[in-house]
Amino acid sequence: MKPAAFTYHRPGSVAGAVGLLRDLGDDAKLIAGGQSLVAMMNFRLARPEHLIDIRRVPGLDQIRRDGDSLRIGALVTHHAVEIASLGAEFAVLSRAMRWVGHLPIRTRGTIGGSLAHADATAEWCLLAVLLDAVIVAEGPAGRRSVAAADFFHGVFTTALEPDELIVEVVFPRPAPRAALTEFAERRGDFAIVAAAVDLDLPRIVLGGVATVPFVAPVSGIGRPGDQYHSRLAEEAAAAVRVRDEPGVSAHYRRGLVRTLVTRACAEAEEIR
């Protein structure tokens, strides 16, 4: 479990990183926290010839309010968000971070890395879609913004070009009635099912039921309360298209959707 040989680069700026990506092409891979990439390299499932370490690129580790919106730099760690004082408007982000792996993972892994990796059960991916986040990427032609809804294309694939890197994620609106919850056999595991809800829209985003974060269609806003939550949960469970898999039947997975949506709704209501 030792990686194949690679050449290590440490650019001092975003422009430097983009330049390296452009010059090195498909043989290069960005590394920030390395929480997914290093494990894959140790198994030799990933074997980049060049590793571009952006961890020390300045200016990408800030969390700041900008009017109604919250801007999070790509290198901000899960743990930094977990302990940040984001106010009631964005407290959902801090609470959701408790579901990300274990503490050592949270102190290294970054929001940008998680989104770029695009695991369909990852908390940041669900939150981005739930809260209409805008992913700001920089490439040779400059910066562009991609809506989270357009960002995830499939298993581990995104709208990012090979020579682009995420520099910032913008959450454009407060979400005081939002929550994320999960189920796995062990604390810190990738969820079998994860559910994120924003009752103000309302919107439900599910992890573990599709190759990308799945937005469950719901039939509009209702009066707060258990009945409303149950209705949302039933609608979400009915909408998922899942198959029996070893160890987890479709029936069970749909049941988990129902349970977790209900619980996420209750949490979202309660924390107000």
Partner: protein, 798 residues
């Protein structure tokens, strides 16, 4: 009825029984321990293995040319290149009961599981060696893989070993009481017959320190020096010398600090032999450290068993008969020295457990499949036996509409010694007392009220479950000879030597891999000689310094090894008294150890000599010694048990809450009432309980090694192999009872495995108790969350 009392953290002037600070801790807590991977030598090379990528195939070609051409690679060897003897473990049983199979150090003609070592690659650094491994080309003629016990036993199944018909390595029917079928027939009419069909998951003992070895040839000593993390250094030496064609004096096995073994390091590993052979061939030091992927897929596994068990009860709940058919999926090879008999023989002998069973019939089999081989794992079969027995008790209670604890009360052995239907004599224990106390604790803590308050609650689903069990420990030569092993482990030899400063060095043939022997053995010696434990040094794990030993397993260290160090200490004490009597001009009978590092006179206790003064005479003033007493101060003693060993016992009580919405299982409370006789060091005992219980919970709720239908392992990392973390393991409340062993030197019984043995049954019973309204009973482990979910939802499919 046995006497029971709380040992507490007593001292009372003695070291035994005191939870003194562990002598291992300062170095381990400061990161100054020395584990195999900490060892480095000038010019050290690094080894890894080309391993089988398919589960079952004939090898048609091995091409290592590209491997040898890889930058940094120093050498690459196949079985033919090294020409090593095979590792073959044998039982002294007839061919219809046991089929010996050879395990080559490196696969020669055939591979039998994914991960089987085929070639060893040696390189300058740990990275280059993996580059080299990747470059190997192995060609296979694939055979159909045999991936389950049922497939192995199916008529016409492909054979994993040509010499083992029906893929059966062990088939023993150790007990069959006359007339047992009539007992069942009678019970069908007038009592109850209950049945458990259970399957338990394949597990990995999972020492946090994976296996590893550093080997080099020493020209000055004409010796292959092998530093390896093993529980059995002398047996590794024997296999190494035989495989390499060396005399045993030419092999020195030493063991540094170890980060656990749990039985996985209690068998001789092919990789440690191959790495040592490479060092011998190259005359250069070679290190092999098993990476986590190999540890999860290619190390010795355990525990995959299938039971079909029936028990007959009379109308009052007394057990009348037990009939068990059990099959153990031992994987591809028989382990050395225990053989594939380890699980079926243990299960067959120990199945009756703590109950007064009049009639017993058992058939135990070991089948071979194309999975990584199995070896011992903490508890060996007893986690499964106890689980099956305790499920039978629960089902009988249900059938007879009795309380399950009350049913157990009526059946546990209370008069000792008890000669069981399994021809084993049980020494005194506290079976009934532990059961009563455990139930009382849960009652006093209010858990029965919590359960009844939520009976049929839509919100909270709560269950309480127990397991009551014993654990045979202190297996001596007698018990292992009964198993008919060709290597009969049992005794232990200890040598003690006092130096001129009056402090002692004591050897033990046991091998601590985390059990605190440097502390607990020293406590025993210190008491026998009246020394401070800091004046006692325990030496283990060096085949040049220790006469012979069988290492540590089967909870034998304190019972057997602890008794040997005690006996040697007593002998040294006699020598010291003899010298003192002469120098103080008195009778030997008028001398005694003063409890403070010296000898004094009984009639004038203020007269005496310190050990240092006596040692000074023994070594530096030998002309003053009495006639017939030679110079120096040393003694040797051995200890063995020719009987059936001594039984520790415990009752575990568990409260669980199930989550209707997810099938989640949360342990709300875990109570362990244990009795291991005299606890040498109560906190070490508690550590053993807690660690063992964590592994037992892992087996009940989390861990399982899975393969796909082609034999590819599905759990190569901790993402898939679900070892529980601190977040999943509850705090465990431990209560002590103490029924001293009559024949070990300190009254101690073994304490190493009980936690693991009792936990799966207690957890499974608690979950089933919580499911009591559903009509579903779950008897397989690990318990699947979907099964719990469906049971509660009313959609459970058998």
């Amino acid at each position: 009825m046995s006497a029971t009392r709380e040992p507490g953290f007593r001292r009372d002037g003695s070291w035994v029984g005191a939870s003194v600070p562990r002598r291992e801790d300062p170095r381990l807590l400061a990161g100054r321990g020395r584990f195999v991977d900490d060892i480095t030598l000038p010019g050290l090379l690094h080894a890894q293995f080309v391993r089988a990528s398919v589960a079952h195939a004939r090898i048609t070609g091995i091409d290592l040319a590209e491997v040898r051409a890889t930058p940094g690679v120093v050498a690459a060897y196949t079985a033919d290149d090294l020409d090593l003897g095979d590792i073959t473990a044998v039982l002294d049983r007839p061919p219809h009961e046991f089929v010996p199979t050879a395990m080559p150090v490196l696969a020669r003609d055939k591979v039998r599981y994914v991960g089987e070592p085929i070639a060893i690659v040696v390189a300058r650094d740990p990275y280059a060696v993996e580059d080299g491994v990747e470059a190997a080309i192995v060609e296979y003629d694939e055979l159909a893989p045999v991936m389950s016990d049922t497939a192995a036993l199916a008529p016409g199944a492909v054979l994993v070993h040509a010499e083992a018909p029906a893929n059966t390595l062990v088939d023993v029917s150790l007990f069959a009481t006359d007339g047992i079928d009539e007992v069942f027939a009678q019970a069908e009419r007038t009592g109850a017959v209950v049945r458990v069909q259970a399957k338990t998951g394949r597990q990995n003992a999972l020492p946090l320190e994976t296996r590893g070895v550093v080997a080099d040839w020493d020209d000055r000593d004409e010796q292959l020096r092998v530093q390896t993390c093993t529980q059995i250094p002398h047996q590794v030496r024997t296999v190494l010398s035989r495989c390499l064609g060396l005399d045993e004096r030419q092999v020195r096995v030493t063991v540094p600090d170890m980060g656990g073994g749990f039985g996985q390091k209690c068998v001789v590993g092919r990789e440690e032999i191959a790495a040592a052979a490479a060092a011998f061939t190259l005359r250069r030091p070679v290190k092999w450290i098993e990476d986590r992927r190999d540890a999860l897929t290619a190390a010795f596994l355990a525990r995959e068993q299938r039971y079909d068990a029936r028990a007959a009860f009379d109308a009052d709940g007394a057990i009348l008969a037990l009939d068990v058919d059990l099959v153990c999926d031992m994987g591809a090879y028989s382990c050395y020295p225990f053989t594939a008999g380890i699980e079926p023989l243990m299960a067959s002998a120990e199945m009756p457990g703590v109950y007064r069973l009049p009639a017993y019939r058992v058939r135990g089999r070991a089948v071979t499949t194309n999975k990584a081989p199995t070896g011992p794992y903490r508890g060996v079969s007893r986690p499964q036996c106890v689980m099956v027995m305790e499920r039978l008790m629960e089902k009988a209670a249900k059938a007879l509409e009795m309380d399950a604890v009350e049913l157990r009360r009526r059946n546990v052995i209370t008069v000792f010694p008890y000669r069981g239907v399994n021809n084993i004599t049980y020494d005194p224990g506290s079976y009934l007392e532990s059961l009563d106390l455990c139930e009382q604790v849960l009652r006093d803590e209010g858990w029965y009220k919590v359960r009844s308050d939520n009976h049929e609650s839509p919100d909270r689903v709560i269950g309480i479950g127990y397991s009551c069990f014993s654990e045979r420990t202190g297996y001596g030569s007698g018990a292992f000879a009964a198993r008919k092993m060709s290597v009969v482990p049992g005794f232990d030899i200890s040598e003690i030597r006092m130096d001129t400063s009056g402090t002692v060095v004591v050897t033990s043939g046991t091998m601590s891999h985390g059990q605190s022997h440097e502390t607990t053995m020293a406590q025993i010696v210190a008491d026998r000689l009246g020394l401070d434990i800091n004046q006692v040094k325990i030496v283990q794990g060096d085949t040049d310094r220790i006469t012979y030993g069988f290492g540590s397993f089967a909870s034998r260290s304190i019972t057997i090894g602890g008794s040997a160090v005690a006996a040697a200490s007593v002998r040294l004490g006699e020598q010291l008294r003899e010298i003192a009597a002469h120098l103080l001009d008195t009778d030997l009978d008028n001398t005694e150890l003063d409890g403070d590092g010296g000898v004094r006179l009984r009639d004038t206790p203020d007269r005496g000599m310190t050990f240092a003064a006596l040692a000074d005479v023994a070594y530096l003033q030998a002309h003053l010694l009495p006639k017939g007493v030679g110079p120096g101060l040393s003694a040797t003693a051995s200890f063995d048990v020719m009987g059936d060993g001594t039984f520790s016992n415990a009752t575990h009580g568990v409260v669980v809450e199930l989550d209707r919405g997810t099938g989640g299982v949360e342990i709300l409370r875990y109570v362990c009432v244990e009795d291991c006789g005299v606890a040498i060091h109560p906190r070490v005992v508690e550590g053993q309980c807690r660690g063992g219980i964590a592994q037992g919970i892992a087996g009940a709720l989390f861990e399982q090694v899975n393969y796909d239908e082609t034999g590819q392992p599905l759990c190569p990392s901790f993402m898939e192999y679900k070892v529980p973390t601190a977040a999943e393991i509850p705090d465990v409340a431990i209560h002590h009872l103490e029924t001293p062993c009559a024949f070990t030197e300190s009254g101690a019984k073994g304490a190493g495995e009980g936690g693991t043995i009792g936990a799966p049954a207690a957890v499974l019973n608690a979950v089933n108790n919580a499911l009591r309204g559903t009509g579903v009973e779950l008897d397989n482990t690990p318990i699947r969350r979907e099964s719990v979910y469906r049971a509660l939802e009313g959609t459970y499919l058998d």
